[in-house]
């Protein structure tokens, strides 16, 4: 489905603003983009035969890399903002990029948006990680502002090669 230019622009600007918050390490401000009833979810992906793709991703209620409600997400933010968050010191140089942004469903006040992401992370002297995948966000307008209700993150790697996934996607 196609959005009109104004709606498309609003969603793109919303994501670009989000990327800036993450890359500037403003995690508490980033947390405000989520609704009270939100879910932040990254399933486990495994390499499957082409004829057996239905089990490629774990389902809600199974094991996941992330499966947080708002209080859970707040704990992660609190951890990253601690002076003892060793992974944040020295600050990793991160770059969140969102592409191929398109609406895939509209239901009442909620719109489901798919985008591809590239999340680059340079850490310490020469540690480099690339996280690439697709995000699916259910967005809702709350008091005139777009907010994230349910974020699903589908990473393309099935074996994680980064030493950790401390930051957000």
């Amino acid at each position: 489905m196609y959005l009109n230019a104004e709606a498309q622009n609003e969603i793109e600007q919303f994501f670009y603003e989000e990327a800036a918050l993450l890359d500037e390490h403003r995690y508490s401000d980033w947390l405000k983009l989520f609704t009270e009833d939100c879910r932040y979810w990254m399933p486990i992906r495994q390499t499957r035969l082409a004829t057996q793709m239905e089990d490629e991703f774990t389902k809600p209620g199974e094991i996941a890399f992330f499966d947080d409600d708002l209080p859970g997400l707040a704990k992660r933010v609190h951890k990253l903002e601690s002076p003892y968050a060793w992974g944040e010191s020295p600050r990793p140089r991160t770059r969140h990029m969102y592409h191929n942004i398109r609406a895939i469903a509209v239901e009442g006040a909620e719109i489901t948006v798919s985008c591809n992401f590239v999340f680059y992370r340079s850490q310490l002297e020469d540690d480099v990680d690339w996280f690439v995948g697709r995000r699916e966000d259910i967005l809702r307008r709350v008091d005139g502002q777009l907010k994230i209700v349910w974020r699903s993150i589908f990473l393309d790697q099935t074996v994680i090669e980064a030493k950790n996934m401390n930051q957000f996607f």
């Binding site: 399933p43 774990t58 094991i63 074996v159 994680i160 030493k163 950790n164 401390n166």
Partner: protein, 410 residues
């Protein structure tokens, strides 16, 4: 089997002074030692493959490793578990390209050699036209583990035909470690096996499971998030730490720390129970790389609420995104790098915490020795390395059975 190390070198037991807490740093990064480790540890020990619940039906398979070798664990038509080396006998290409699934056969996508669920060669394209029917299929089946056995649904395999039965290898202490997880009920693996690589030696990862020294420092930001004070954390891990310590023959270990009960079946399987219900396996992928697999277990008959609680606890803490383990991987990598220092190659690592503090527990009626003492101690790490040296020095299983260390006060 002869050692590939120079003849002038000492035995592994002699090249470190475990009794006094001194360990040769090279064992965590040296390639020559690592190559011998693949033969003498991973080529010999019983290695955890997967759990029965992951491959319930004929043709169900799960890919894992024995040492660096890719292996397929598959349920055969007779109901048994086979462990097949994932390399075609013709040119070595993989015959299975998925982490898990179901299949009726394994076909190499290069020339089409095809194997049944027992690893027998059942199809050779062009056998009549190109080979004049000379291929003897019976001689060209897939490589297999020498032995496959299971204990309470946990499937193990060994590459050594001389290895004693699994239960002999586990001993009373090893069985207790698996029992602790199996006794949660009619357990099954929850879908979602995490696979995570680090540029770290597998032994450094293993050691961390019974290291309660690092908790308050490494995970300080976690305790900030959970609003626990440093004093509380150190009280729990450094002060209130008296209790049972289990050091099993061949290098198995349990710490009995409440809420942890971190157990390790030598060489590379850890079971975290009491709060978590997880098995972690740390496969070697080189002297300075490992791949960790995480299996979460839950009782099939648990209520939806209980099931969710188990899964949520594991997700919150474990793996590269877990709020606990996020902080661990970097340490493993830094330690591995430091172990390879050439300038410091003659300076051992310090393993001196709690020397002599573990005493034999009198009057314990278990069928293996139980010790008591400070549970935050390097007694586990010293025991693991002493046993590792036994494995590395032994010429074969008979030698290991005769000469391995027996648990004693230390």
């Amino acid at each position: 089997m002869t050692t590939t190390l120079p003849k002038t070198s000492l035995s592994f037991r002699d090249r470190m002074d475990v009794e006094n807490g001194l360990v040769d740093r090279k064992i965590f990064s040296d390639d020559e030692i690592y190559q011998l480790e693949l033969k003498r540890v991973f080529g010999r020990a019983w290695l955890f493959m997967c759990h029965d619940s992951q491959i319930p039906n004929s043709g169900d398979f799960f890919q894992t490793f024995m040492g660096e070798e890719k292996v397929i664990v598959v349920r055969n038509r007779q109901g048994g578990a086979e462990v097949l080396i994932n390399a075609c006998r013709h040119r070595g290409a993989a015959v299975c390209r998925a982490h898990s699934g179901n299949t009726s056969k394994f076909m190499c996508a290069y020339h089409g050699w095809t194997y049944d669920l027992n690893g027998n060669l059942i199809g050779v394209p062009g056998n009549a036209e190109l080979y004049d029917k000379t291929i003897d299929r019976k001689s060209w089946g897939l490589g297999k583990a020498a032995q496959v056995m299971s204990y309470r649904g946990f499937i193990f395999a060994t590459l050594d035909p001389e290895a004693p039965p699994l239960e002999t290898f586990l001993g009373g202490a090893g069985k207790v470690m698996i029992d602790k997880l199996a006794d949660y009920g009619d357990i099954e693996v929850v879908p979602g096996v995490i696979r995570h690589r680090l540029k770290a030696n597998w032994k450094i990862g293993m050691e961390n499971d019974q290291d309660y020294y690092h908790v308050g420092i490494t995970h300080a930001s976690l305790f900030d998030a959970w609003q626990s004070s440093r004093a509380e954390v150190n009280q729990q891990y450094w002060i209130d730490n008296k209790g049972d310590i289990i050091l099993g023959e061949y290098g198995h270990i349990t710490d009995t720390m409440p809420g942890h009960f971190h157990s390790s079946i030598f060489p590379h399987m850890s079971l975290l129970t009491d709060l978590l219900q997880v098995v972690i396996v740390r496969h070697p992928k080189g002297p300075q790389e490992l791949e960790m697999l995480y299996f979460t277990f839950v009782d099939k008959n648990a209520s939806p609420e209980e099931r969710k609680a188990v899964i949520d606890r594991n997700i919150m803490r474990l793996g590269p995104s877990g709020m606990v383990e996020q902080d661990d991987g970097e340490n493993f990598e830094f330690c591995t790098t430091g172990s390879a220092s050439q300038l410091l190659r003659d300076r051992p690592f310090n393993y001196q915490m709690g020397l002599g503090s573990a005493k034999l527990k009198e009057g314990d009626d278990r069928d293996f020795p139980v010790f008591e003492g400070d549970r935050t101690s390097e007694v586990y790490a010293r025991w693991r390395i002493q046993c590792w040296a036994d494995w590395m020095d032994a010429e074969n299983w008979d030698d290991l059975i005769t000469n391995h260390s027996l648990p004693a006060a230390r």
